[in-house]
Structure formats: structure tokens, C-alpha cells
Symmetry: C2
Subunit: 384 residues, 2 copies
């Protein structure tokens, strides 16, 4: 990770699968200023063990920051070490090995690994261009009582779709009726290109058991390992009563005190605005180049935010099997089969526009097109 | 936690139970200098997702720091979010609910909470003034196959005892013979007063499955949530292959890059030397005052390091029942029953000298003596 690939020579790999921000977008300067501000105050309240939910002041500012479309109160928030750790903690506290959980089809592949470490059985719920399909969810709930539903409602990883406001309400209603906890991974919510998406699912916390997980990984820096859970104070009590938090206290008092300065001095909002702009342009370049380079039978919906483009190849194409050939052309991707517990989506491919600049993305797609022409010549017949 | 009690008026509580460093010992200045050094380098390698085991350079310097009595190699180390998180992670990866583990009697009470969150059954192993009793461990292993043994071999919490070098070897031998993983919580190892204790149990990693857990919480600041695991590269592979680390990367790249500067510029070693000096003097004051204030039938062994003094009252005294009376006198403690899964050690009391200065400790013991005279007048008959 310390040596992220950069394009210097044609033979250097452009890994379009990786969902990470590029180096130039990392906010070293903001964090330098924030750290200096923090230490200048001679307030060392972030050095002892901290409160389990996180420092009250930090949560107050975070609540203000999150109160964009709906009001978020500080007592509905706790600070986490990022969404991976939050998912791990929720599995420990809310499940037992052998339990069933519901995941979207497709879903974030490394979340599947976390669930599998906890011995959970995963049942996929269908999605379409508006996200999770509520009717399908209701059908599945007739046959099982899952410990929770894991959903990525905004600029989905990998499919880039967003759960519509109507469907959000349907999911909340189903969750309330069945007492089904909803673990909502909202890591891409702030990265919209034009119009903001519907508000966080966290706003339903008083009518159904929903835990909204947010993170600074995509809007500041992954290396901070800092995020938050937005849910009801009652649900938070269950988490903060855990042995882990009783013993260690708040999970990241030091880093959260520094990031708090980034929130307070306004540089977070400015940084996110810049990211939106950069990613909007990169997504446009990636999609434009893909339309040129791919055969007509490969389809995708241009994303409206987030990190990803989800390519659908004609049925029967096994993207994983293409990977070696594609890699030989100096480019890489993640095959769709990674993104489901039952290895479905074999004819899909995840690309990301987060880690490379516009020129690198264009070069990557040129290479991909070259590789596909070699590997799947049949698809190009009659196409452009 | 943000308002730690300080002694200003006699009626203000002195909580001798709390095992936390006092505010004056927190290294804000060191961290300010370290952060400035880090940002001045314009090296932002700590901002993306980091390698699962932690940054190689950080592990190299840490290995150097840990190679005090025996050599520690960087590939035997991974960075953690502190020992509570490391324990939690080990439970997730190495146990399943219903499994049995072994803990010392007594043991760290909040570790018990973590184990209980993971649905583990805890069997206590007897200890004496030299720590865990190997013969007793062997007896217990005749009747069960525990997932691991949790031990605190240096300046034990709460009993302050240290596992002797001979016993360390016996435990390693038993671990190797039975394939019993040993999870060794070594958070107090650097806080010796005079002679260093035996080396870390981590040195046995090639002959038995031992995981030594270290932390910056007691030698720098708990709010950093930073520590390490020292074990065999093979065992590390199992941990770093977990979904949590595959998804989130290294658990604290940002904070570890700052603490790395504290290690490199030598201020960590100087800070630890200062802590040893302060705690040695505080322990001497606490023990001296206790000898004056307590009845002769209450015994304790003066600690040679760490944070704690473990008071043994005559059998039949229920320390938990004393707590209300003692609190009325403006002082508090942790009753011994907290420190075992079966509520043993009812006639013990844990005190700490970490959080208060010498005058405050003396005042605390005066209040404790006053309270005990009122609550247990019988113990004082014939005594001083």
C-alpha cells in the first residue's frame, strides 16, 4: 500500500479495480493545520481513556456536520475506527456464529470476509437500478429471521446504484414490522456529483432498528481509521456497554480530536466539495472512454456519485477468466464474482475512478479495450 | 473521562481504584513535536489504507525498541488499536461462542467482559506470589481443551505479581506440549521500578503458540489506542488474513506514524524513564501510608512495577459491602470480586497509584483508614 501504482511507463499496471483515493487527493496539509491547532490549545483531554461513545464536543460538531438534510443529535452518534471495525463490532455484539444475515446481491466483497470470520450465513437479496428490492426482502423474511440486513444505500459498492427515497421508506417499514436490524454502510454518501442523494437511513432510528455507518475514509483519508455510527441512543447503549469499549474507552480519542479541528475550521466541507468535483470529472472521462472502447453488448449505468462503474458483459462471459489476459495488457479490474457470497455476477466487472487521474483512466481503458478485443473478439463483431 | 477527579476539597472523591495515568503524566508536548516532525517530511504514506500488519518502517523501529533483552524482528510484529482491541480480534479469529478459555485468578476485570461478549466460558487458573501456577495449569489441561490461556505476566492487574523466569519457561513448555495458545497481556512490562522483569513471553513464539500483546496506553497515552502483537509470522498471517484487516487495512496508520516519530527521536525512552521514577515514588508513598493506616491483619506485597497494590483482608470481610461506607469518606477502590469470573476474591481490594500524586495518595489512604475504622472496628483492636 505504501507504493501505490502510478503510471510512468506503459508497462506499469493501472489497477482499475482498486477503490482507494489517489495520493494527490489526500489531505496532508489539512491534517497538519488541524494538528497544530489542536496542540496549540494545550487541551490534553484527548490523551487519557475517552468516553465510550467518543468525546461529547467531537460528537456535537459531527452532529452539526451531519445535519444537512435532517437533524442529527450528538446522543445518536458514536465514534468508530471506520466502517470495517464498526461492522466487526456489530457482528460480535449482535450475532452468533451460525446466524443468518442478509446482504445485497451484489455487495462489498470484504464485508463478506468480515461476516464469514464471524461464522455468519449470508443470504443475498436482489437489487436493481434503484437499489435493494423491498418486495424481494419481504419474501425472504417469510422464510428466515436474520440477525440483520447489510445494505450500501448510496453509490453502491460495486453497483453504483442508490436506494431511492421511496425504497428507503419501504425498507424502514419492513425493518420496523419485522424487528429486522438494518446495518447501513453509507461510506460514499457525501460523494455525490450533482444532486445530493436522499438523506441517511439513520433518520429512521426512532421507528426501526437501523444503524447508519459513516466514515472519514472516503472524504478525508483511509489511514485515519475514523468513522461513526448514527443510531438510537438505546442501540448505542448496547454497543458502549461492550467489554471492548468498557476496557479501551472511546476507540480513537486522539485522531478524532485532530479530525474535529478539520470539521470546525471548515476545511472538511471545502475538501469534500473539491473531491466531488474531481470525481465527477474522472467518472465522466472513465465512462466516455468506456463507451468508445467497449463493445455495444457491454452495458453500464454512469454513476451519480461514489467510486465505481459496474460493467455488465453478455451472459456467459466469465470475467474472472479474462483477468490474466487483461493483466498482460497492463491493466486490472475486480471480477463481479468477488461481490457475492455465492459467486454470482460472473459476467460483471468493477472499475473505480478514484485512484487515477483523467489521463491515467483514459490510458487504462485503452489497454482494457485492447485486451478485450484479443480475449473476446466475437463481442466486437458488428460493434463500432 | 474528560473530567478526571482532582483533589481540591476534602469532599472531592479520590478514586484509588482507577488504573489510569494522571493528567500531568500525559505527553502532549512529545506528541506535538512528533506530529510537527511527521508533517514537515511531506511524506503522506500514512494517509491511504495501510498494510495489514502496519507500516514496515514503523514495525522496524518498534522491533528495535522492543529488542531490549531479546531480539524482536519486524516480521514478528503487527500494529493494533491497543490491547482491548487485540483481545477482541483474537477472540473473533481464534474462538467460537461456547469455547472454553483459561484466565488467571484473579484477572483484569474488563478482559472478562470482552471474553463474555464473545460467549466464552472462563476457567480460572490459580496464581501465587510468582504468578500463574504451572502445576495447576497442567492439572486443568487434563480435563479440557481451552481455546487459549489469557495471562498478565508482568506487574499483574490486579495482583501486581510477576511471572518468574522459571515459570515463564514452564508455561511455554506446557503451551508447546498441549498446543495451547497463550495470550500474554504485557501492558505494564516497561513500568518496572528497579530491575527489569524477565523478557516478554513473545520470545517463545518459535517453540509454542504465544501472542504477546503490548501497548502505548501505559507508556505514552491511552487515548492513542495503539499497541502491537508480537508472535510468529505464521500466527500473524492468520490475523492479517481476516476480513477486518483485508477491508480496513492496518488498524491505525495515522497514529502509528506519529508515535513512530516519538520512538525515533528518543523521547519515548526518556518518557518511560520518567514514568518509572514517578510511579516508584508514588508506590512507595502509597505502601508507606497503607502500612500506617491499615490494621495489621490486612496484608499486601509492595509492587515492583505497574499500577497496582492488591490488599488482602481477613477472610470473611466482604470488600464490596464496604464500598458505600468508604465512598462516604471521599475515597473509592475496586472490590476484589470484580477480578474473577466466579466472584472470588471478595476479601481483596485493588488500589492504584497511577492517577494521583503523592499528596493525593496520602490523603486518599487517610480517608480509607478512617472509613475502615468505622466499618470494621474489630480489625483495629490490638492493632497499632
Amino acid at each position: 500500500m505504501t507504493d501505490l501504482p502510478r503510471v510512468q511507463a506503459p508497462e506499469q499496471m493501472i489497477h482499475l479495480g482498486l477503490g482507494q483515493p489517489s495520493r494527490g487527493l489526500l489531505p496532508g496539509g489539512l491534517l497538519e493545520r488541524a494538528s497544530a491547532e489542536l496542540f496549540a490549545r494545550q487541551d490534553e483531554s484527548f490523551l487519557p481513556y475517552g468516553p465510550a461513545r467518543g468525546n461529547p464536543g467531537v460528537r456535537e460538531r459531527l452532529a452539526g456536520f451531519l445535519s444537512d438534510q435532517v437533524t442529527v443529535a450528538p446522543d445518536q452518534l458514536m465514534i468508530t475506527n471506520g466502517n470495517s471495525q464498526a461492522l466487526d463490532m456489530i457482528c460480535t455484539l449482535f450475532t452468533r456464529p451460525g446466524d443468518t444475515i442478509l446482504v445485497e446481491a451484489p455487495t462489498y466483497f470484504l464485508a463478506l470476509r468480515i461476516f464469514s470470520d464471524h461464522g455468519l450465513t449470508m443470504i443475498p437479496v436482489p437489487t436493481d437500478e434503484n437499489g435493494l428490492v423491498p418486495g424481494a426482502l419481504e419474501e425472504i423474511l417469510k422464510t428466515c429471521s436474520p440477525a440483520f440486513l447489510y445494505t450500501i444505500p448510496f453509490y453502491h459498492n460495486p453497483s453504483a446504484v442508490t436506494l431511492s427515497a421511496e425504497r428507503q421508506e419501504a425498507v424502514a417499514r419492513i425493518s420496523g414490522t419485522h424487528g429486522l436490524p438494518v446495518v447501513s454502510d453509507e461510506v460514499y454518501r457525501f460523494l455525490y456529483f450533482d444532486q445530493p442523494p436522499p438523506p441517511s437511513l439513520g433518520r429512521f432510528h426512532s421507528q426501526c432498528p437501523v444503524l447508519s455507518l459513516g466514515s472519514f475514509s472516503k472524504i478525508l483519508a483511509p489511514g485515519l481509521r475514523l468513522g461513526w455510527i448514527h443510531t438510537s441512543p438505546e442501540t448505542l447503549k448496547k454497543i458502549t456497554g461492550s467489554g471492548l469499549l468498557r476496557s479501551g474507552g472511546g476507540v480513537n480519542p486522539f485522531t478524532s480530536a485532530i479530525v474535529d479541528r478539520v470539521v470546525r475550521n471548515g476545511s472538511l466541507a471545502a475538501h469534500i466539495a473539491e473531491l466531488r468535483d474531481v470525481y465527477r470529472r474522472r467518472a465522466a472521462v472513465l465512462c466516455g472512454e468506456l463507451r468508445e472502447a467497449l463493445p455495444r453488448s457491454v452495458s453500464f449505468t454512469p454513476p451519480r456519485g461514489g467510486y465505481f462503474v459496474w460493467l455488465r458483459f453478455p451472459e456467459g462471459v466469465d470475467c474472472k477468466a479474462l483477468r490474466k489476459t487483461v493483466q498482460k495488457h497492463g491493466v486490472d479490474f475486480y471480477p463481479g464474482s468477488y461481490f457475492s457470497p455465492d459467486r454470482g455476477f460472473a459476467s460483471y466487472m468493477r472499475l473505480s475512478f478514484a485512484m487515477y487521474d483523467e489521463a491515467e483512466l483514459a490510458e487504462g481503458v485503452t489497454r482494457l479495450g485492447r485486451a478485450l478485443k484479443q480475449a473476446l473478439p466475437g463481442l466486437y463483431k458488428g460493434s463500432r
